[in-house]
Amino acid sequence: MRQPKLKTRDLRKTYGPVIALAGANLELEEGEFVTLLGPSGSGKTTMLMMIAGLVQPDSGEVWIDGRLATYAPPHKRDIGMVFQNYALFPHLTVAENIAFPLRMRGMSGTEIRREVDRALELVQLPEVGGRLPRALSGGQQQRIALARCIVYRPSIVLMDEPLGALDKKLRDQMKLEIKRLHTELGISVLYVTHDQEEAMIMSNRVCLMNNARIEQIGSPADLYFSPRSVFAADFIGESNLLEAQVAGIDGREATLIGTAGVLLKAKIREGFVVQPGEAVKLMVRPEMLSVLQAGAEADNVLEARLIDVIIVGGVTKTYARLADGKLIAATGLTHGPLDAVAKDACIRLGWAKESGVVLPRDDSAA
């Protein structure tokens, strides 16, 4: 069996009364790109720091490349880390910065020069070796930080919000750049961010974190289409969350009673047990909802009063209010000149039963 590059077992950290991380289990396979995604204070940076050896865990284990490394000092872990503000050594030139980890490993001068040139080539900045870091732009500094980190081929590369300090355009560019380096070099990356778009674009798997614990681990598509909690549904993408009660269960299909007594059908995921009569939430992505023309039908239909129709470019968003006063949004591709629909007009929104996700109402039960 193949050894995972990184494995944590019940990793736990508290600061006084504050729980920073409450028992996290995570595996990172060779060549995999896993993102720790979550709001600030969710424990993702704490977890990364403990894997790097910069923060000591209270309990639990860290295995790197099949070796126990829970309390090993950082320099013995064979990891690479890219910091948020790059942490380039300001008194060393770019080439010296990249050479630093090689020098620490006792490589010979000619070998170091070759490797440094190769790394600079790889991040497409072969000209800047003799300059000091502050003479470079933010994006260039970011590339050098990447080069310094991959030049010695560590077992795993850790990245702590590395794009946080860049502006939007540069960030988009660097996302693709990091993804390219990942596929080209086949490195194993653990990446921390609070930006879901970053996570979705780059990751093989996303580890969603909230309140010092792991909420859900899965591929970006998994997280998007089958969130397991209200938090996951809410944090990733846009979602409509409807209050409902379980009326009956037939295999993996459930019948729910929505507000105003409307019957709704939805699939229930494997392993999620609900009893008839239980209060749940039904999540439907806005793009799964469509505004039904007169006479058209769907598995589920809700009536609502139109509030506004907004063209956001490629897509058009329809906002309406349900009978219980809740806002509901539907997103569709923009086409044709819009029919002038009167405000407050009654519209019907429909969706297929496969696109609804039944979620536990109480988040803590997830």
Binding site: T70, H75, R131, R134
Partner: protein, 612 residues
């Protein structure tokens, strides 16, 4: 000369009929700098220049170099100069060796720990040199605390000679100046990115390599700045060598005082003071050539020139430095590897004794050395004996009674309080507008203006003191409180400007702009918005200025004639005759008072920082 960036008139031909159609002239907006610069020119630059002039004239009023010739030909002055350099040099070295670990720990610990630890550096920094020197007499004397402890422990037969020799002077000077070294190095170390050491660790560097190759080179500007400030300040010292040393440790400032007080040879004293000034400027010049003056302002790592711009000599030096730090890193790591071999750390257990623990122990010891001695003065002040001895015979308030009943002490205390308050008030009036302007406007020569205002802080005080003495003698201001206040204001201004600028750095100027957009005129913005928000910082600046004056001896020594003496002057006069329990009582009172004022100032400053 002074232009506000971005505000230059765009088109020269713009309509001049409309009042708001054109910006005001650039020099008009620089009015806040006018009072402080005028004051410093009159009360600082002019007197010092006059002193230089005077030192070039003989008794008959003819132009001559005779005073300088005498300085360089009489062997006694050569000895004094050698002493001065030797003592200042050793003091600098020891202050940096001892101060570096403290500054390093303060710069790398948590904010909370730093806030409480730094008080143990700030308190001795602000405690009167006189009080601290007396404390060392209590500790180091033949019948002092250290000797009596060692004797009772059976470690020595006869008391060690710790006082009235080089040992006493070094202990006193290092103790006096180490806080300055710590604070200067700290200001640079705080600019070093905290992620660099963790980054080096993840890249495979052990603690030793990471420190010597990354942290140490980046902290060097701070070390150099601290060395410069300590060396220059040490050059002008006289309290410590006079009270803790023997005639063999006579320093140059003592000779100046002797020439003025005993020989009444003013031009010669002026010549010596000028020599001291020349030495100070020469050291500054060397520093500037080697590192650039900007590093002094705590600019730290940002101000180094790019690698491409270095000359061959600088590159050779940096190559040598690189090799040296690499070797030091290796050496440190070998110790660490050896240690690991002996007490192997396991990956499944937390590490035991780390370098960090050793650092904490070392720093704890150094902080005790800095903060504890002053408190030895307290028990001595309650003694029943008529002389200072350890352990003191407890249980008498008679020395306090003696102080409080003696009119000389009461007048001195009152005068010091009044002079202190008026100095602080004047310094605030002159310094606050300048601080606002320096913090907010950007203009050509800003660094120069800042440097000029800070000069009185850096120059040996004796130069200002002697210069003011001549100046006042001609104006008839000797012995008047006004003369003292003006002199003390020169010294207090740097503290006021630095403190207020520090507070304004955290101040969000958009709050002012918001107030202005809501219809408040500039004075109303200042009064209703800015001042309430930075009130704590203003109070802190006032208190620092007050303590600077309240504690000041050098200028008081020259400017206040026999009758109008201040508290430090009275203490000095007493100490020259005999260090008695009376002085211990006065010192205790002073210690308590200054501690309260400084803690209050710190409190207000931190509150201001929190609000900003």
């Amino acid at each position: 000369m002074i232009t506000a960036r971005g505000l230059e008139p765009k088109a020269a031909g713009a309509s001049r009929t409309e009042r708001y159609g054109r910006p005001g002239a650039a020099w008009m907006r620089s009015w806040p700098m006018v009072p402080i610069l005028a004051f410093l020119l009159a009360a600082f630059v002019y007197p010092v220049a006059q002193l230089l002039w005077l030192s070039l004239f003989g008794k008959t009023g003819t132009f001559t170099f005779e005073h300088y010739q005498r300085l360089f030909t009489a062997p006694v002055y050569f000895t004094v100069m050698r002493n001065t350099f030797e003592i200042a040099g050793w003091t600098t070295l020891l202050c940096i060796l001892g101060g570096y670990p403290i500054a390093y720990l303060l710069a790398t610990t948590t904010d909370r720990a730093r806030n409480s630890l730094i008080l143990w550096v700030l308190l001795p920094f602000w405690t009167s040199f006189l009080v601290r020197t007396f404390a060392w007499i209590v500790l180091l004397g033949r019948r002092g605390a250290i000797n009596s402890f060692l004797e009772s422990a059976g470690l020595i037969e006869a008391p060690l000679a710790l006082l009235f020799n080089m040992t006493g002077v070094m202990v006193g000077m290092v103790h006096a100046l180490m806080p300055l070294a710590v604070l200067t190095m700290l200001s640079v170390m705080e600019t070093i990115d905290r992620n660099l050491m963790p980054a080096a660790a993840t890249l495979g560097a052990r603690g030793g390599q990471a420190f010597w190759r990354i942290y140490f080179p980046l902290s060097l500007p701070g070390v150099a700045a601290a060395g410069l400030l300590v060396f220059i300040t040490a050059l002008g010292f006289f309290i410590t060598p006079a009270l803790l040393g023997s005639p063999r440790q006579t320093m140059i400032t003592q000779v100046v005082i002797q020439q003025v007080e005993e020989m009444l040879n003013y031009p010669f004293a002026g010549a010596i003071a000028m020599l001291l000034l020349a030495m100070a400027l020469f050291v500054f010049y060397l520093y500037d050539r080697a590192l650039g003056m900007t590093t002094l302002a705590g600019g730290g790592t940002q101000s180094q020139s790019g690698a491409g711009e270095q000359g061959p000599l600088a590159r050779a030096f940096s190559a040598m430095g690189g090799m040296l730090t690499a070797i030091l890193g290796r050496a440190t790591d070998w110790v660490a590897i050896l240690w690991e071999a002996l007490a192997a750390g396991k990956p499944d257990r937390t590490a035991r004794v780390s370098g960090r623990v050793m650092l904490r122990l070392g720093v704890a010891f150094l902080l005790v050395f800095l903060a504890a001695p002053s408190f030895f003065i307290v028990p001595v002040s309650f003694t029943t004996d008529a002389f200072i001895e350890w352990p003191p015979k407890w249980g008498s308030l008679k020395w306090y009674v003696a102080v409080l009943e003696h009119p000389t002490w009461i007048t001195a205390i009152t005068r010091s309080l009044i002079v202190g308050f008026l100095t602080a008030a004047l310094a605030m009036c002159l310094g606050a507008p300048a601080a606002f302007f320096l913090a907010r406007a950007s203009f050509l020569g800003k660094t120069a203006a800042m440097g000029f205002i800070l000069t009185p802080l850096i120059l040996p005080r004796i130069i200002i003191a002697v210069a003011l003495f001549y100046f006042y003698a001609r104006l008839g201001l000797i012995g008047s409180p006004l003369g003292l206040i003006l002199g003390h204001t020169v010294l207090a201004l740097p503290y006021v400007v630095i403190t207020i600028m520090a507070v304004l750095k955290n101040y969000d100027q958009r709050i002012d702009q918001a107030a202005a957009s809501l219809g408040a005129s500039p004075p109303r913005v200042l009064w209703h918005v800015t001042v309430p928000l930075i009130r704590s910082g203003l109070i802190a600046a006032f208190l620092f200025a007050f303590v600077t004056s309240f504690d000041e001896l050098t200028i008081a020594l020259f400017v206040s004639a026999g009758a109008a003496t201040t508290l430090p002057k009275q203490m000095w006069d007493d100490a020259i005759l005999k260090v008695s329990p009376t002085l211990a009582a006065v010192s205790t009172l002073l210690l308590v008072f200054v501690t309260i004022v400084i803690l209050a100032a710190e409190f207000f400053q931190r509150r201001a920082a929190k609000r900003g």
